[in-house]
Amino acid sequence: MAIKIRVVNMIPQSQSNETNDDSETNIAVNPADPRIIGATAFTASPTAIIFLSSDGGETWSEAAIVPTFTSDYNAKFSRNALYCGDLPGAPLAVFRTTDPFSGALMVQIDAQPNIDQPWMAVETVTKGPDSGKDRVYAGYTNWNLVTSVATIDVSQDGAVAVPVFNSVTLQNRVVSRNAPSVRPTIHSDGTVYAAYFDWRAPLVPPTWGSTIADVVVARDDTWGVNNFQDLVDPLDAHFGVRVATGLNCNFNGNLGPDRFGSDIAAVVDPRPKHSRRVWVAWCDMQGASYTLQVRQSKDRGKTWSSDLLTIPNSKNPGLAINSEGRVGVFYQQLTGPVVAQRWEHHVQFTRNGVDWHDVLLANTAATNWTGDYNFLQAHGREFYGTFATDNTPDLANFPHGVRYQRNLNFATKQLFDLTNTVVIPASIDPFFFKISWHEEEEEGEEAGFGFKRLEIEGLKYESLSIKKLKFERFGEEDDDDEGDDARAISRLLHRIADGIEDEEETNE
């Protein structure tokens, strides 16, 4: 299965001296122009910086445009602006810029006095009377009144000079608290899901430790106007369906040099008429292993599949679905003996939840903390992401190759300073990746055909299995059109499948 994979070390050449642990990366692809990409990482600076690329991720710069320092931050692009949720100490500060390359500092548009782990999700409305408005969602856990409550600040028009934000409390069960991670995911039809953990039992000081947890997915059918109360759990009549219950979440446990305990991701299928399809991934203790699990709902979060994928010793899940409905599951897995542990950074792809295609992006020494989350984003057919890992310039660590901007020597596996003379020790760097699926590379599809008839056997799509399909050409044959025939078949199959799903949705 041929796919194009690009991995780029994001540290600019002019930062070749740096030995910082640039951990906890996140990515923001501009939906209006995917050549414009932003990213964040804990890069040492008096103020937080935004990594910027204007060429689709081939080259990167660091822009000091966030006005404050950070304890935790990430950014997302709408079609109008770049939004950054920052945690300068304890408060939340949401910043915005319409031109991150201008050099102007971002402007603050939202604030909360005491929160943890801000997480941005934004979408520009493209249809209807609100077309052009930015829907802005800042997920976080609220420490203002009681302990750690899952909350989303929602603005229906984040692009105006002074946006109005409404704080929506997700927690509505009797629980001890919510874990820090709150993950909104937006569909262009106005459906917004949010995944979070209910922690049902307290953590006992002074030792952090296990708690019993539920994974909850809430939904709002009108851009957050209904306070995420459109999905009711049939078993307890509370808002938000419990995808999994009674989990063992070991908060602040250790996986190699990293801590863990609040790992969750969610994504809605971005295709038109597919907002009923939503995926969630999380990690919890399965025996002694912190294990990634992935589940899917096809009915707007009402019911959920069993585990479609489980990966032991893993953390930092990311989920994305591209314009063809291909799902990407991004994670890092700890491997190797204790004395020589390594991080493997993977993306696994599926279209049906059954057949998975694994891409190993990097396999590096697990040397230092890499952060509490990652993110995977799709635009069109492409998948984009970032991860933090050891920056030793060893080509054996990157199975699909890697490009560095900073000074180095691949032959000696050494980094060099700005003068290109002094060896710089290895540290944690942010890496960008882009995975491009080519149109002709479809599962269950032969490479093409040069005959008047073609038979395909053993095709699977979602829960359907087709034993045999026969295709027959009509019209003139062309010596060069083998790939076109294959693509035509692929499109035909997907239209049939989508048509079946659209029909199902209409009938709901």
Partner: protein, 240 residues
Amino acid sequence: MATATKELDRLVEESTYVFKATVTQLNASNEPSVRPGPGLIVAHVDEAFRASPSVRASGLRGRDVTIQLSGGAPALGDKLLVFANEWLYGVQIALREVAHHKATAQAEKEVEELVERLPIRHLEARLDGAVLVVDGEVESIGPSPVPDGFSLRSPNYQLAVVRVVSTLKGNRGERVDVLFPTNPAPPWRNAPRLKEHQNAVFLLRHETALKAPPQFFTALDPDDVQSRETLSKIRSLLKP
């Protein structure tokens, strides 16, 4: 301190980049990510006095940099003393100017001296703000008795019990309880991690993040834990 020196002192404090440069281009940028335009110049760095740790003076010296001016536009060929902060790092470096002065031998000398004194001034400030300065040894490391916030931004303290050899400032008994963070994330990542049997001079403040009782102290700045070799220097810097 003369008025002019005070002004230079303020600029050095406010600027992570201080250098002497020659203006080589007007309304221009040498960094591809920065669009050229009014208010931008390119200058050749003739001498670097201060730079961010990720560039260092040695990495700045001899470079051409893009500068976003804060005030009056210089002319081509002008020699400037530039005070600036970071804006953008790409293939090249772009800086936001705080101010620039005409480069003179006298101003250069003063700036060089002020920059050289920055580490001492930082240490002086840490000493001024410390409520307790002790020479001692970490006797034991254990769990913190102070309830943590259980958030990802909590310090995740551990407790170091320091046996006091001598007290340089403040007044405590034979042992001091020092909380040190283990959280790998900002703002805790660069705070000193104490080790059992570590001998050092500790510049201590009362714990504030978790509002711990006053008997608990912290040493959160990298300069708050000094090797014993600096003992005489620290004594000389302590104000009576």
